[in-house]
């Protein structure tokens, strides 16, 4: 039996902000169909991993392959068009555009423009709230609605891989629950998810695999349920020196 090949392979990447190292020798793999959670304290380098996959920050060393193809040489817009949709921290909504215009921009990266109408119908099925507000300026949406818009817009780009940076940030508890359900829903529809969360325990509940980062290094990886039970996770999540 042949093992399936990973969707994304990050090999020994290093990233520096000026002279300060943000990532030192990080490697990871995501298998198709998974939800992989990246957890760790503030400043551990979680967002930097996502930003280096999308080429928002340059790599000083290492390589990134997506579906077997080297993508770490490409500019961000071409990476998006390969099927990697990145919802940045703060959601990346264009507050000066309407809900509909935001969704429409998501479709710039879609590889098959013919299914636009079907994709839009799916978005409105997943997020009925967006259908009600399609003509409204995105700036008038609540935080939770903006997060739904960000996920809906990502769906419009027909992603194979969804990079989510702190989707629960700044949301009310009942919304956080809902957003996590929606992420699982999107995943069940065939999208692989790389999830960065501070909300570690909740992220581990929906993830299949998880990686724990500490100051720019991978310190643990494994099955999400196993990690959720370990003490080490709480230590990493709290930043180490507290215990």
């Amino acid at each position: 039996m042949s093992t399936p090949s990973p969707l994304l392979t990050v090999a020994e990447i290093r990233v520096h902000y000026g002279v300060i190292p943000a990532l030192t020798n990080v490697s990871l793999e995501i298998m198709p169909g998974q939800i992989l959670a990246l957890i760790g304290a503030n400043g551990a380098g979680k967002s930097t991993i996502l930003r280096s996959i999308s080429k928002l920050v340059p790599l000083s060393q290492g390589s990134i392959h997506f579906q077997g193809e080297l993508i770490s040489q490409l500019p961000p817009h071409q990476i998006a068009r390969k099927g990697i949709s990145h919802v940045p921290e703060g959601r990346g909504i264009f507050l000066n555009l309407t809900v509909e215009e935001n969704l429409d921009l998501g479709a710039w990266a879609a590889q098959n423009p013919k299914t636009y109408d079907d994709d839009l119908a799916t978005v409105f099925e997943l997020f009925p709230r967006l259908a009600e507000r399609r003509k409204q300026s995105a700036g008038t949406l609540s935080g939770g609605e903006q997060q739904m818009l960000a996920l809906g817009r990502a769906w419009m780009s027909q992603p194979r891989l969804l990079l989510l940076d702190e989707p629960s940030l700044g949301l009310a508890p009942q919304f956080i629950e809902r957003i996590f359900e929606l992420i699982q829903d999107i995943n069940r529809r065939g999208v692989t998810v790389l999830l960065v969360e501070q909300n570690a325990l909740q992220a581990l509940e929906i993830a299949h695999e998880a990686i724990v980062l500490e100051t720019g290094k991978v310190v643990m990886k494994g099955n999400a349920q196993d990690l959720a039970k370990s003490d080490a996770i709480r230590r990493a999540y709290l930043g180490g020196e507290y215990l």
Binding site: Q78, A80, G92, F94, D104, W108, R153
Partner: protein
Amino acid sequence: MIELIQHLINGFSMGSIYALIALGYTMVFGILQLINFAHGDVYMVGAFTGFYAIHFFKLAEHPSWLSLALTLVVAMIGSGCLGWCIERLAYRPLRKSPRINVLITAVGVSLFLEFAGQLFFGADPKFFPQVLSFEGDWSFNELKINPLQVLIFVVSIFLMLALDWMIYRTRLGRAMRATSFNLEYASLMGIPTDQVISLTFVLGSTLAGAAGVLVGLTYPKIDPLMGVLPGLKAFVAAVLGGIGNVRGAVLGALILGLSEEFLVGYGAPTFRDALAFGLLIMILLFKPTGLLGLKRAEKV
């Protein structure tokens, strides 16, 4: 009454010239937060491109609407190419540099164009030939209207409506608005932001080139430093309207054109050029975001 109408016509005509230039400032600022000080000189190059086009195609010998259209198109293409080159050669290599470096470069590009202009076109003013002949002014009883001023207004309005349509009604315009909101987010959408930036420079420069020709027709003396003052005033107009805001730039420019005209007509003609800068100081003191400008949400 007649005098008032006369002043209104003059003011709108001058204001629409400022508007055509101000749009380039405001669009580039909207996307790159850069004041492209070379923009006034692009307007100058537009006027000279029109001038040489008229001589090359001998358009002054056959004054007609077609000659005017041809002059405008050639000047717009010429200045559009210049705008593309400026962005590609001067600003793009500095995309990741601190903003002050880019600002100094902008001043440098401006000086370069002014003195390269003196070298290639000659420092002495040139006479801009007429490509459209009107038999004197249009008279309505006492009121005399210079058809050229109406022409300036009409052509400018047409170009501005075309731009507005492009920005608010097309897919490309949506990509431009997204890029101007946040370049990084736009690139994550799959929008080729470098190309959007180039397009922005080309569009802005094209409008400035058209303004150069229209000014040449009405005030037929062009020289390599002609862009300095209108450039600065258009910049003030863009700030007045709220820099980064396309419709604001047009509003600011019309207000500036009209107030200059009324100042000249009813009071203190010698203060004409001081008005724009007085206005600039006032806006920066009392409403730095301009008339239609919005406060940008600070990122936490």
